[in-house]
Each structure stands twice: as C-alpha cells, then as structure tokens.
Subunit: 323 residues, 2 copies
C-alpha cells in the first residue's frame, strides 16, 4: 500500500503489520473455501484508518500494546463484517478490486459469514478485559445498524440535511469515534481525555465520509475502485446532491428521474455535471474541511505526543485525498 | 402461555414478566413498521427457556437481580437475532404462528434487523459490567454461527454422528450453556460451580435439540407450529435419520430421493414412516434422556436451592414435551 509512506501510517507500521497477522489468524475457518475468501477480503484491506486511530490513541495514553492490538483488530473485524452485509444488502459485486462474497456465495452463507465476523469482532474486543470498551463497541454496532436502516429507508428521497448527518454518523462517524475513544480508554480514566478522543474520532469520521461522498462525483472509476455516480445510481442522495437541491428546489428533468430511481445513464451523467457546475461539491468539501478543523480543535486538550501529531495529520489527509 | 403453570417457569414468573418488558423496551424503533413487527416477534415469544436458565442460575448464586435481568434479556435478544437470520437463510415464512420478517420485508432490511438485534443483545449483556460474562456471550455467538454454517454445508449429506452433535451444540447447546453459565458467573467466582452450570446447560441443550429433532417426525403441524418432516424437506438429516441410515446403509428409493433433495411429498411421508417403524426415533429419544440424566448429574455439586430443583425439573420437561 502506497499509503504506508504517509507518516501517520508509517509511525504505526509495525502495529499495522501485527494487525494483519491477527486479523488473518482470527478468520474463522470452519468452511475452507469461504475461509480463503474471507482472508482475501481482509488482505484486500483498505486503508486501516480505524485501527490506525486506535493505535495512535492507545500510544498517546501509554496503553498496553497487546490490548490495543486486540481492540484494533476487533474494530477492523467489525468494519469488515458490516461491509459484508452492506454489499449483500446493496447487491454490490466488487469492493476494493475483489469480488464480494455475495457475488460468489449463496445469500445464506453471506449472512452467516457476516455474523461470524461480528462474533469474532466481539471476541477480539472482549480480549481487552475492559467493560467500558466493550460498551463503546456495542454502541457503535447499534449505531451502524441504525445508520444502515436509515439509509435503506431514505433511498430515492430528498432527505433533510439533518437526516444526512445522522446517516453518515452511523455509517462512518460512529466507528471512527469508537476506534479513537477505546484506544484512549485503555490507557486513561480521565473523562476529559476520553471525550476529546471521542469527539475527534466522530468529527474526523464525518469529514471523511463527506469527502467520500464528494469523490463519487469527482473521482474516476480507477481511483475509486467503483464507477462514479454510484450513490446516485442507487438512489442515495448525499451532501452534494442535497446542497444542490436546496438551491434549485424545482427539480429539473434529469435530477427528478435520478431521485425517482428511473434515470438513464445519460441522465445520471447530466445530473453529476449539473451538481458539479453548481458548486455544491466544493461547498460539501468546505463543510468537510470545517469538520476536520473541529477535529483538530478537539485535540487541544490532548497531551503533546507523536501520536497526537499523527492524528492531526490524519485530519489533513482525510480532506485532501482523491480516493 | 400454558407452560407458565409448570413450576420451573412459575417460580420465575415475575422475572419473566420483567423480561418481556425489558425486551420490548429494547427493540430499536428507528423504523416504525419494522419496530412493530419486531415487537410482535418478541411477543410471540416461545418458551423463554434460555432466560429461565439464567434466572434460576443467578438466583442459586444470589446474583444481583438487575444484572441477571440484563443478561437474560441479552441472551433472549441474541436468540431472536439468530432466528431472524435463520429464517432468512432458510426462507421460512412462519415461526411461532407469526409471519417471519423475511416474508414481509426486503432481504436487506431483514439482514440489518438481525444485526440490530445482535447489537442490542451485546448492549444488554454489557450492562452487567462483567467481562467474563461478555466473553461467554461472544463465544456463544461465534459457536452459533459456526453451527449454522456447518448445517448449511451438511444439507443433503449423510454426515457423521459426530458432525451432528457439533451442529446441535452450535444450534442449541452453546446458548443454553452460556445462559446457565453467565447466571452463575454473576453470583460466584468458584470455577467448579461455574463449570457445573456450564455443563448442565450444554447437556440440557443437546437433550432439548435432539427431542426437537424427533418432534419433526412424531408431532403434528398444529403442535409444532410448522409442518412435520420440515428438516427432511430441507435436506437436513437429524439424529433419527442418521441412526436409521446407520442400520440400513443401502438407501431405499424414497430415502435416497430425500437425501438428494428431490423427494416428492409422498416420498417424504414414506421416509418418515420408515424411520419411525425402524425404532430410530425412540433410540434418538433414549440418547436425549441420557443427556438429560447427565445434565442432572452435573448439578450434583450445586448447592441445594429451589432454583436447583427447578433446573432438575427442566431436564425432565425437556425430554417429555410434545412441542
């Protein structure tokens, strides 16, 4: 991964290496073909942002490395489990350049695989022997599910901005929050410090997800690992579309078809162009940058430490990335 | 529920009433139609055997009632979550006389509902603030998923008896074990006592599941809440079928078609009759009675207490019931 050269990853490079090993060991293997596929899925990886937050937060408060590793692995395992079920729910056929489980296995086995990964995640987090950490984890799982259900409900609907923020908190903010918070919890009991890391994670997650949503308009299929306009095609209206709509409440033809889920590919392309031309993507990015600034401010009370510096860098990466 | 007149339920009747309230309060309500349906599903209930184990075990060791209630609710919530996903995986349209979620909602929403119930279960169990309890719970979730995957894999296969026992441990033994074990854990640190309750739960669960599997041959649709021969129709070969096969290794025509999943209703009925005539159902019940005896023996080290007496009665109920 080229991203490993970025300082906030490189300073936890050994941790991330141990994480890979722990994740691969933790894949349940009762079904060998499925086990192979789950390991591939884990190896395809992604950026490991959530465990990176846990590692840095844990280091800042001098938490026990073994326990940090367990909960970091639990967080990433939970994330993987939710992706397995998401891809099934969305009928997605590819993720991170790898065929999804639901493209290769019957629905039942995919449901159960996700469940098994949830179980494994719970087991990993329980290894840390810290009840508050486990509670934070359970809350995240609940919030993620609520977010997913909200997203399923709001398809083809011009929801309020408030609904949008609730949705992306569930989708990304919640687990970022937990990832940062539980790293701190393992090393300190100070509620101010734990709250600061919790807020940092939440705000970073929101910034990250908003940028993700803009990339669906501005990136290209090769960078993104999926075709652009994916959300619009699925009837998911994210921040740029909602900001655009707020300015032009009378829906023009193509956008109306997109919202209704009846758009042709030409109408989707036309809508993407209209939204980009309106400046809504840039305004969404400005909101993301503001969340990133707020995330940095949340770190004001956190002790000076290379980990803190890395977390600050992460807020800049979150809003500057192109994938 | 008529079963409430049975002593092992009546002595925890107040607990079970509080359980109902706690379960209904815990149903996530972000989607109102779905929330109503989930509450119906919980109200349809079933026997509440698992929380009954937790209540009795908790009482024996004088555990805090609030914490017992939380984990009992967590156990039943986990059980409900697994049933939601099971019904989806098996495409079952009715359970306990109530339409299943998957008969009423799109697949995606059913997957997410089950996940949400898992999350709620984890939250409830975490309320008890006891790490060993949470670990036991995570292990059960993992074992249940493994059992389900094993069952999915072994459809249309004459598996070994060993595989059968692994499967039913995952399906029922594991959560019975955890239900009894965590009740004890909340009130004692004595490993001998915890092990005894753990063994009791496991053995009772095995007895219970074997009887369940025989009822699929001997009950009727009205008592069972589903047509008899359900397992055979699904290609699931349970203990009576496996014992029958062990005696008559050359498969006769109808049974061969059943195993292959190509049987007509007449061939299923013919196979059920052949298995019943062979005495395999009675032999399966004898094995269940033996597990029930072993479960009683496991209680030998447990202190004399009305709860212990109730657990002994439960072993008799498990093998004498007709539904």
């Amino acid at each position: 991964m080229s991203t490993l050269t970025v300082p906030f990853f490189s300073t936890v490079e050994d941790d991330l290496q141990q994480l890979e090993e722990k994740l691969l060991q933790s894949v349940p293997v009762s079904h060998s073909t499925l086990g192979d596929r789950l390991r591939l899925l884990i190896q395809a990886g992604g950026k490991r942002l959530r465990p990176t937050l846990t590692f840095h937060a844990g280091r800042i408060y001098d938490a026990d490395p073994e326990r940090i590793l367990s909960v970091a692995a639990g967080i990433e395992m939970l994330h993987t489990a939710t992706l397995i079920h998401d891809d099934l729910v969305d009928n997605a056929l590819e993720r991170r350049g790898v065929t999804t489980l639901n493209a290769a296995f019957p629905m039942g086995l995919v449901v159960l695989s996700g469940d098994m990964m949830f179980a494994e995640a719970a087991r990993l987090v329980a290894e840390a022997d810290h009840v508050a950490v486990i509670r934070s984890f359970a809350r995240a799982l609940s919030e993620i599910c609520h977010g997913e259900i909200l997203q399923a409900q709001s398809k083809h609907t011009l929801t309020s901005l408030e609904d949008y923020y609730t949705r992306i908190y569930g989708k990304t903010g919640s687990l970022f929050r937990t990832a940062a918070e539980i790293g701190a919890m393992l090393g300190t009991d100070d509620p101010d410090q734990i709250d600061a890391m919790s807020e940092y994670g939440r705000l970073l997650g929101l910034a990250f997800q908003i940028v993700d949503d803009t990339l669906d308009f501005t990136s290209d299929a090769q960078h993104l690992g999926k075709p652009i306009g994916h959300d619009l095609r699925e009837g998911i209206l994210s921040l740029p579309a909602l900001l655009y709509h707020a300015d032009t409440p009378s829906l023009h033809g193509a956008f109306r078809q997109v919202v209704a889920g009846k758009a042709t590919e030409d109408q989707i392309a036309e809508t993407i162009e209209a939204i980009k031309r309106s400046g809504a993507v840039e305004r969404a990015l400005e909101i993301a940058r503001d969340y990133a600034r707020q995330a940095r401010r949340a770190l004001a009370v956190v002790p000076d430490h290379p980990g803190r510096q890395a977390l600050i860098e992460l807020t800049r990466f979150a809003v500057a990335r192109d994938r």
